[in-house]
Structure formats: structure tokens, C-alpha cells
Amino acid sequence: MREISKRDLLKASGAAAAASIAGCLGGSDDQLTFWWVEGDGENYRDLNEWLAETVESETDRELEITGYAYSDLRQNVLTGGRQGTPDVIEGVIEHPGDYVAAEIVEPLTDRTDKVPHFDGFLDSALDAFRFQDELWALPYTGNGRALVYNKDILAEYGYEEGPPSEIGEFMELAGTINEDHDDMNGFHLTTERGEVRVTQEFLSHVYQHTDGPLYDWDGDGWALQADAGAFEAVLGDIYYRLFHGDSPAAGDSYQSAGWETNDVGFTEGEHAMIHCGPWIDGFRDTDQQEEMLDENTAISLLPKHADASDATYMEVKPLMLNAHSNDLDSGMAVASAFSSPEALERLSEIDSGATATPVHEDVESSIDNEDFTAFTEAFENGVAPAQIAWGEVREAIYDAIENVIFDEQTPAEAAADLEAVLREADVNLDPEAE
């Protein structure tokens, strides 16, 4: 057998490098590109194949689907989107604002007649992407944050119909459960710095006091809708009492815990009540988890202060067109197909949580468990976050929560600091605007 020499290896490496570069530079003009978070997901292969076939039959163009984690997806779109790839972009609710400011996405207002199912979208879901007098994205899935609770534990304390809705009584119950059970927290939510859920859960409670977004456009600029009083109420009655006070709702070791601890922890019996969305139904890796979700879990609206509303954080996933694409019509066909009732039914077969609270009236809710129906009500009460620059706001929220849960500041001090930072924050996404 002929031995491979160093020269052969070098030649092969050179050829491979050249081929790679050619691959990067090349790319067929006939190929449409679609980036979405589950583009590479094995479970989603059938859906992706169906989408590619549907688009090809409608446009005669091949569809290449790529998966990215949301943070990578956003960065790649912002840095390279102007080159025209991808043609179609999926994302999270805060992304359209960034992309509009970067002049990367195309307004869809005049293209909606190309979407046969457009009239069926819920107005609230479309409203999440309507700003600057244009519609910037099509929604395809959504949810509202609610309270997920352990029925057995609450029944022990006489709350067969669900936990108390008033936050004082709620935290008292959570504290009692925590005190009585060595291995269970009464209430838990995520508090890990950098975790996107932390801000979503915090905002859910702030929205109860603003009954609308945190920032609203007042004609001249974005105006903060909450004051230190609202922040203090949330930081004091929830976040401080979570780990401090006479009767903390959770153990110290859960300070700064992330979503895994929250979601997986609940299904494994670690928490009596948590903040969550319909995806909780997907954590079924063990018999214990299945039993918990099928027999012992129910949903209610989030607890609130007596003078507050039932508002909560609304999450809607967008599909956007790259304004620099060389074929916007075909891109629209992708967005239309992926947000169609047929695609959503297919999505539902893979992830039932995706259509628990469908954003389209021709799609049935996947919720068949009566105990889970409160998710629908939560979605109806949902408030979509404003399309602002969230970076500075998020950091300030993390600071406030951390200072309170680690008892570095009183809730009043943290709330005052938070209000000051949010009032001064440069939340405008347009770098040229004042």
C-alpha cells in the first residue's frame, strides 16, 4: 500500500482549504436561505423537509435551512445580513427592533396579501411587530407567562382551586410550604444574571403595574411607564421574600439559579410553584416527570398586587424578510408557508407547547388537559415588549434583582436605582435619532 507522504498531506489540505473557500464564496443563486433556531434539530427534520418541498413547488427555488442559537443568529444577521443571506429570518420578539434599526428587514405591510391565511392571525400577535407605521414580521407561535403549580401540595394547604392571586397571601403560602418541606421550595423563579428568562419574569410583574409595555412611544421618544414604586413592590414582595424575611419562599442555594433549575426542578418535585410557559409540558424524560405533568400539575394566572392587572409577558416568535435579499417574493413564500396553519399543525406534532396558545384562529390549541387552560388566558393578557434597545435595561434589571436577592440593597434602594438608570437609559435603536 502506498504511504501517504507529507507532500500528499499538504496537497490534500490545500485542496480542502480551496474547496472550503469556494464553498463559502460560492452558493447557488437558486438557493433561498432560512435561518431558524431549530433548523438543524433532528426532531424538526420532517417539518424542515416539508417546508423546503413546499417552497420549492411554489417558487422553483431550493431552500437551505440553517439552525443557530438565538444569540448567534442575531449577531450573524447584524454583521452579515446586508450581504443578502439569509433571505428569511426567524427570531425572538426583541429581534425585529434591532433589525429595523440596522435597516436589515423589509416591512411586510404591503406584502400581506400574498399570505393566504393572513386574516386569521390574532391581532395581539401581529401588534407585537407593528411599529413605525409598518408590520415587520409574521408571527408563528406565542405564549404568555403563567404560574405552574403542584396540585397535591397546594391541596395540603387547602388551596384545591389554585394558589391565592393576591401576592402577599401567595408569598405567605410559599413561605409556609418552604418551611414545612425540607426538600421543596414554595415558589421559584429564575434569577441568574444573563438569563433571558430573568428579565421576562420580572417584566411580567412590572406589566401588571403598567398594564402595558415598560417603555411607550410618546411622540418624541420612548417614555418609561413604571416608577420606583412599582419596582419596589415587585422587588420587595417577590424577589426579597423569595430568599429573605421571616418566611423565605425558597432556599438560599437557589439564589441566581437558571431555567434548568426552575423548569426541570419543578417536574422533579423541587418546587411547589414556578413561573413558566407552555413548554413545561415537554419535560417528560422520566416516569416521575410524566406523572407530575399529567396528574399533578395545573396552571393559574400569576399572583399580583390588589391594585394591579393580570398582565404578563407575551412572547411571540417572528418571521422576517431580509431587505437585502435578491428575491423578496420567494422569501415571502417561505414566511407564508412556515406561518401557515398546516405548518403550525406539523410543528405541534413535534412540540405541543408551540401551539398551546396558537397565534392563528385556524389552529387548534394543543392543550387537552383542563388544568392547563389558564395558559390561554395568560396569553390573552400578554404584553409584548417594546421595540427598544434592551441591553442597558436588562443589565439594570439584573443589577436590581441581584442586589435584592443577595441582600446588598433594600428593595426601595434597588428600585430607586433601577428607575434612575431606566429613565436615563439610551433605549433608542436608531443611532441617528436624538
Binding site: 447584524l78 441568574e192 444573563g194 442555594s253 441566581s256 433549575t261 443611532p431 441617528e432
Partner: protein, 303 residues
Amino acid sequence: MATSTDRLSAYRKQFVSLSTETWLGWGLLLPAALLMGVIILYPILDGILTSFQARSFLRPEIREFVLLANYRALVRDGVFWTALWNSAVLTGVSVALQFLLGLGLALLLKQQVPGIAVFRSITMVTWVLPVIVIVIVFNWLVQPGYGLVNLILAELGLPTDYWFSNRTWAMPLIVLMHVWKNAPFFAIALFAAMQSIPNELYEAAKMDGASAVQQFRYITLPNISYVAMIMIVLHVLYTFNNFDFVWLSTGGGPLRTTEVLPTYVYKQAFQQYALGYAASIGVVMLIIMMTFTVVYVKLEDFD
């Protein structure tokens, strides 16, 4: 007169020859120099230029000169100073431990005992593990409730915690992950350097009555110092600039106790879109690292 003309002609020939050789040399160097300029010099210069500008990640084509405003803001920014201090602590402690542990491990690997070859191979495993895998492993180990570390502590009746969220233990855990990953590489490099020391030196030292400690102090250490220096410089640069361990495990929390300069640059550039401000932090990092490298190389008489 004739002598002076001959001398002039010789000088001219020499000059022509020299200039021809020089230009030929420049001609050969030019493609590489151009390539270096495009892929190394230009990004660095653009980064330095950006540090004097207000520039958003969303619209990078819009640049506004603000002179030293970013640097003035940096001086007043408490988080920057926290991140700088944390970066220095993380780098100093991690590299010192990696070196000491690596040195100990190298001495161990040097022993001629049965099975040492297998042990040498196993030693390298942590170095080849991707950072994300290491972070996931550590993250699950310290999960409250079901993490192995906490289960053992609970079994022993000791307090449990989510250690990445503990203000006292978060940074030591990150240091531990760095050491766990990199100490074996130190060990292998130092072990290779030790292997190149002639055995005669040790034999002569033994004949002179030198103890094991004296042999280590006067033979081993001086002979591995060059490799050790390279390793230390490389790992100081790597650790000071390292982003992924901190970002994936704590995101800079809790209460910014693990915020380091790379995570702060990332937040400023990609979350707050402040490219100019992020670039000014980057320039500070560049100056610190350049200073460190120059001073260290001078001290060690690199030549």
C-alpha cells in the same frame, strides 16, 4: 586620481548590488507584508480608531469622532474597574496554579514506573475537552438539589449551594475550570523540556553530593525555564482574554463578582451596541497585554 575613480566605481557597484538585493528582498516580502497588513494591522488600527468614535453595532457605517470621551467614561465606570481587577485575579491565580500543578505533574510523569504511559495519556484528557463541555459538566455537578457535589455534601451533613451563584465561590470555580483544563498542557510541555536535560548533569550533581531538591533547583528549573516562560506568557494571554468560561458559567454574576474585561467588552458591543466604548476597553486590554509581554520577555532575556 585613478585610485579615487576606482574606489568610486567600487562604491557604485556595491551600492547597486546592495540596492538590488534590498529591493529584491522587499519585493519578496511585499506579498506577506501586505497580507499581514490586511488581516492583522488593519483590524487593530480600525479597533483603535473606533475607540475614539461613537459607533453603534446596529449601524457600524456611521462613525462620529468623540476624541477621548470613551476613555473618560471608562475611568468613571465602576464596572470597568471591577472587571479589570477580576481579570487580573483570574489570570494571576489561574496561571500560577496551572504552572505549579503542571510542574508537579511533570515531575510525576517523569518517573519510570509501570503504567506511566497510560497515565501520561489520561493526563491530557481535560486539555482536549471543549470549554462548553467542561462548563456543562461543572454546571450540572453544582446544581442545587440534584448536582453530584451537592448530593455528596448533603449526605455528609454539610451546607449545599448553587456554587456558581455564590459570591465567594463563583470565581474560585472558574479558576478551577481553567486549571483543570490547562494544567495538563503545562505538565506535558514541562515534561518534554525535562526529557531534554542530559542525564550526565544529574549524575555529576549526585557525585558532588547534591540533594534531590538541589538537583531540582540548580539543574531542572534552569533548564526548563525557557519553556516555562513561553507557557506562562501564552497562558497569561489566553486567560486574560478568555471569554467563554466566564460567559457560559456565570455571565459575569453574581453581583459582577466574575465580570471580566472580555465579558464586559461583549456586553458593551453586542448587547448595548456601543462599539466605540467596547473598542476603548479592547485597547486597554491590548496595552496591558503588550506591556506584560514586553516586560516579561525582557526580564527573561528572551534572546
